[in-house]
Amino acid sequence: MMRTYAGHSTAAKSNELYRRNLAKGQTGLSVAFDLPTQTGYDADHELARGEVGKVGVPIAHRGDMAQLMDGIPLDRMNTSMTINATAAWLLGLYVVAADEHGIDESALAGTTQNDIIKEFLARGTYAFPPGPSMRLIADMVAYTVTRIPKWNPINICSYHLQEAGATPVQEISFSLCNAIAVLDAVRERVGQELMGPVFGRISFFVNAGVRFVEEHAKLRAMGRLWEQIGRERYGVTDERHLRFRYGVQVNSLGLTEQQPENNVQRIVLEALAVTLGRSARARAIQLPAWNEALGLPRPWDQQWSLRIQQVLALETDLLEYPDIFEGSKVMDGLVDELMEGARAEMAVVAEHGGAVEAVPYMKAALVDSHRERIRRIESGEQTLVGVNRYEETEPSPLTADAEGGILVVDPETEAQQREAVAQWRASRDADAVERALAELRRVAESDENIMEATIAAARAGVTTGEWSQALRDVFGSYRAPTGVGEAASSDPAHPAELDAIREEVERVSEALGRRVKILVGKPGLDGHSNGAEQIAVRARDAGMDVVYEGIRLTPAQIAASALQEGVHVVGLSILSGSHRELIPSVIEALREVGVDAPVVVGGIIPEADVKPLKDAGVSAVYTPKDFNLSQIMRDIVGLVGEGATASA
């Protein structure tokens, strides 16, 4: 199956895009939701500011869902939704949308990502604490296995773990432990006789990096381990249920902002990793666009990625042979090695009491692996062409146009969506909504399956924010561990360099009278915290006192922390594309409470946005091409030092 991950701005615009893609030969839909929808907020919530329609489509109620799927034959469509914390809700809306066209839920096919543990570990769009989150997942699995049998209720993602720095062994073991946690929870809700079909409906979403031979071995290892788990832990015997089914989005972490055209060959090689051997071949592939490290891809960029798949599948002889690694000593050796490593790591997670309890352990391990990866790139042990070798380049015609080769979302979208939600609330049957929400709360407090009440709420016209708030009221809120506290400080890539920075930190600290203190903040709903975490760890290693409070903070929260903690400098990280709205708000909030500390910003920030940010008061802007963290630290200490001299 071929598809591209898509959705932006509004339901109507995304619908247009889907229809265009289907006309071009795409065979399924992959829906990207915006961050407010993913985290359970309506467009007019404070936390949604700057995020509406940015990384996907905003879906606030059944009306939005109906518009999103307008003219698309849902009974013949395979729809993959990248939705997790609010998956039960979006599935509910999808069921209602189908029902409005007279299509029974049993005819629906598709996937909800619904993997909450990797949200705690890597992606950050969780909404509820771990316990209730796992219960929602188990409810969905139990519901779909009988009522929507062609639905994959959960897609366990090792993808984001690799993006967060996981080694192949970590990617295999953490994701399998995650699946075990889900299956254990489901086993309490359905009988053993259904465990075969349940097991068979669990699919995976994996990553493929550019070391494509090892990556292929990784997938073979996962397949074998998965089958063993099915047989031994869950008593599954049917071969069809035991098959390791996975889809792929190839690696984004390795895609570079420098010489972005090189990403095309990286993507092709990564696609080979998941297609080369028939016995471990992906069922669905999504390829990122060549310019993902620059910003949101345009339709043409996505078309290029689809064409890569079509060339591989239809022009080459890739699909014509049986498994080409059958009997290969090298491949078998690699697979054995990975399986052995993964089993050992799975035992560690089990000792922690399973994946849910081991979230802090796994998170710290990932932060550590990522730190090691950056160290290897900084030291040159790991080559990135165009980044730390062969850096010279001719000017690129691909990025020469005015917008720098990316899609820009109309800022009006957010205001319109806010208004539209308010109108929706005003025009529906308020009593029916109240009744539906009361029932939802009652079910949430009980042991009953959440799906029926959720579908009823969708039908009554409840909004995404209301559904989520009702559950937050019952389940409480939660902040995931950041993992940075436990991160080891290893031998630096360039010891002399780090020593020099530490000396500078000491010198400036002496001048200030207390240690240089930095606040690392993540404003908005963006949960991609790798960058912030690595900056926090490195700043500590450089000798600073670092305040890092995790993701999803409002400008007011960041300003209050900066004031109360008495920091000398503020570092903000943002990858969702909402920097133009959020960064100036944070600066305004800081100045309002009387904090005049310099502000630096890191993230996926197009060149064209640098000047407006600096005009708003940002001292320095860093993008993925600034992989040298030492240089960033030097700049930050320099900034604080200037302030120290100025005020002395």
Binding site: P481, E506, D545, V546, Y548, E549, T554, E565, G566
Partner: protein, 317 residues
Amino acid sequence: MTDEPALAARLRDRDLAAAPAALNLIENRTRAAETAELLRDLSPAALGGEPPGHVVGVTGPPGAGKSSLLSALVRAWRQAGRTVAVLAVDPSSKRSGGSLLGDRARIESDPADPGVIVRSTAAGGRLGGLAPATRAAAQTLSAAFDVVVIETVGVGQSETEVAEVADTVAVIVQPGSGDALQFIKAGIMEVPDVLVVTKADLGDVALRARRDLVSALRSLGARDTPVLAVSSVAPTTGIDELVAALAAHREGLDLPERRAEARRTSALADFVAEHGERGMRALGGRRTALRFLDEHEAGLDVATLVERLEQRAGAAQ
């Protein structure tokens, strides 16, 4: 550049917005003289009585659930209209001298609420110890805030040091970790004023932990020490009881006596840090020195007491 008198006046008037600037001053090593002035201006002698804020030490091992508990406590205090300052002392301090703060101390509060402040500091490599400025910070903020919480990590040593600063010490343990029990039995840990078992939502495990602690305390003759089971995750339980237990402990205290005692101990520690064993010998040993301090007015601040000790040692040499 000195803004000390103004800061002292604002804190005396319970202007909470003065707190961040006061903390910046206290932590600044190059402004020690101003800090001493600030403490003098806010001493019981200057105020005409002990600063009104209740200084509560909260300590326990990593992972015991201190942050969630504190979030719930802060919420309860705020609902009761009490202002709260949290001083979180972080043990992480590496070879580099740097540290990661706040990671564990993220205490949920409304950023628009001026009645709460959270400040984290590095302990400076002293496991379970207080940051050098924490004592001064607690004394200063207790003039303006209703409750000042000192949060530290560890079991076994930290509560001893916290006890020298706090009016009430609560030790937090999670069920299943036998450390606190072992430490109490072995006499490594002093009996805290309040013992809290978190994660009461775990049910039987928490109840058993609570029972074990109660019987351990009883065998040590400390049958009055309250042992509470709380759950800080929704639905929270036991938080109101904990708030009441902390308040009850304070009411049962001879507060001026406990604080005067703490200031004397602190003054002696500061003196030793500055002048070493030799200075102590000049004072005629620890007992003589403490007796000497006992003769002074109870409301004097630490810096003044240190000065008196220095005068005495100088006279003896």
